[in-house]
């Protein structure tokens, strides 16, 4: 990490830092930011392990039957909180005597569903708002920024608490809605900053000189070059929302027991932590692993996409 490296890396993104002896020197082919990032990411073991874990959890959410043949709804109250048995019931039984392993597998779906619905909506909404504010500037920016300020002044957890206590219906959609309403502002700010940086670059001026309209410049020229920080933050946000769902459920305003998310598993069994710690260890392990994977993947993405940090 000497100064010259820092200076050159601005001109020639990540390849300089990690090329090594086996780098792709001398091909003469210009590489894009994403190409370089991909090159770096497939060699990053942390990123690969995180992706693998995310893939496993996603497969639990999409196809729970692939992982277990038992149903989390077939319960025998006599088996309540029975300890794990190695092959048939590796996670034991929950409070109602249902198979805990099946419960944990089926619990992936609501947790991930909330995270994905909320993150996707936040990226679309916040990204669009940020793009417009950053691109047009002036009074559009002024109005949008003030509105963003107002939303930002509601602290995340407190705002979600108020919203969800007043809602009588609490399911995957209302919890996602609360997360979206309070979460889009950060994405909008990141997008706006990134667009402002990109807006004044030469290729945008060139496109404008060639007569491209606002829509085309935004969609074809600015968006692909400004989206990187948003992608990084969205990856981390996926983890944040998985954790937020669990916290809200713990506080009693998230999903309610017939639903089987990891948050519900943790909050239902918290009082048995002392006697049957495995009742908490399994859902907490899955939850923390998922959040960790998203954060690590996001960090790796940022390192690959941001040449300045090399």
């Amino acid at each position: 990490m000497t100064e010259p490296a820092a200076v050159t890396s601005v001109e020639a993104p990540p390849s300089g830092g990690t090329g090594g002896p086996a780098g792709r020197q001398g091909t003469g082919k210009p590489t894009s930011l994403w190409g370089d990032a991909r090159h770096q990411l497939v060699r990053n073991p942390i990123f690969l392990v995180s992706c693998l874990y995310i893939l496993v959890v996603t497969s639990m959410a999409v196809l729970p039957r692939m992982w277990t043949s038992q149903s989390p709804r077939t319960c025998d109250i006599r088996l309540s909180r029975n300890s794990p048995e190695l092959w048939d019931h590796p996670f034991g039984f929950n409070l109602n005597g249902c198979d805990y392993y099946a419960h944990a597998i089926y619990g992936a779906r609501p947790s991930l569903q909330i995270a994905i619905v909320a993150t996707a909506s936040v990226v679309v909404l916040g990204g669009l708002v940020g793009l417009l504010a950053g691109y047009f500037g002036g009074w559009v920016d002024a109005i949008i920024s003030r509105i963003t300020d107002v939303f930002l002044s509601l602290p995340f957890l407190l705002g979600a608490l108020v919203l969800l206590t007043l809602l009588q219906v609490r399911n995957v959609w209302t919890v996602s809605l609360a997360l979206i309403v309070l979460g889009w502002t950060v994405i909008a700010r990141i997008m706006r900053g990134s667009v402002i940086e990109t807006r004044n670059l030469d290729f945008v001026a060139a496109a404008r000189a060639l007569g491209a309209g606002h829509g085309r410049i935004m969609g074809k020229h600015i968006l692909p070059n400004a989206i990187a920080p948003v992608v990084v933050y969205a990856t981390i946000l996926l983890g944040g929302f998985v954790s937020a769902e669990a916290t809200l459920t713990f506080l009693g305003v998230g999903l309610q027991p017939p639903a089987a998310s990891w948050g519900v598993m943790i909050s239902t069994h918290q009082q048995y932590f002392d006697r049957d710690p495995w009742l908490l260890l399994f859902p907490v392990g899955l939850l923390v692993g998922t959040v960790l994977s998203f954060i690590m993947a996001g960090d790796a993405l940022r390192d690959a996409l941001d040449p300045k940090l090399q």
Binding site: M1, E3, F151, S153, P155, L158, L161, Q168, V288, M296
Partner: protein, 336 residues
Amino acid sequence: MGTYVLRRLLQFIPTTLGALFLLHYLTSLGIQLTGNPVRAIFGDRTPTQAQMDALANSLGLGDACLQRVGDPCPALFLDRLQAIFLHFDFGINVNRRPVIEIVGDALPFTLKLVVIAIIFEAVVGITAGVLAGLRNGGFVDYLVKITTVLMISVPVFVLGFAVRTFVNVHLGNWFRAGDMMPDWFSQGVMSPVYKPDYPWASLVIPGLVLGSLSLATTARLTRTSILENVRADYVRTARAKGLPRKRVIGVHTLRNSLIPVVTYLGVDFGGLMGGAVVTEGIFGVPGIGREIFRAVLQQQPSVILGIVTLLVMVFLIMNLLVDILYAVLDPRIRYD
């Protein structure tokens, strides 16, 4: 800078009104779409319409506009603003106790908790961040990186439970059984719940749990900021002049690196209040967070709305102060 402060002050008013309106509109919309939460207070009993109306009216949830979906209820909003700014009235709970009184009683505990948390995250977070930033890519850097990622990914309520069970109960029992530690430690610091006999000691561990929320962010922010600044020209100049390393780091680098960190610590108030709901709930601290936690469990929407409205106003004032402080701290930035 004078104009900047003035402009910031002027911006403060519409933002506060906007935030209060947003809170009002979102809650009204929630009630309009899913029914009046007052019904839930009666549980499985069936109230008469008159009972329902009386309770809803006393809690400020009886306005007819709360039944028309999409109505922003401007009259109700003006009433609430009037109550807040003219009478300092944030509503009452089911037992007719004013919210402002509840908050007043709970405030000292939360304040102590937040002070402990902020000291902890500032001292440990900044130290860790500086050490990691100075040895970029070294062992300490990796250690800090891994620890912070782990801390971010464990939800605070899981951390709270784990700490309460393993540290306060198990380790604490061991200390309480032996006689080698003074009482304030084994009975106070190690107590799994808040004890009025040890007003500071029994808040230490809840405070640390609360502070660990933002500790990781503080450390990472300091690290990035240090990394950026050690490459700056003025640091190179200082080093070239032959200044001792201690001075180059301690005075030249740190001073500029800490500006974003101080800002973050100031703005983090909202996050700390959210975390306080969880930590105070787990450790039984009779602070504002536990009042919110209790109000959620007892389904008292008017209390939650009142407390959160008050907190949002405090949060905005904090933001304002931090912004003004920022202008004082960092003369490099031009405010036009």
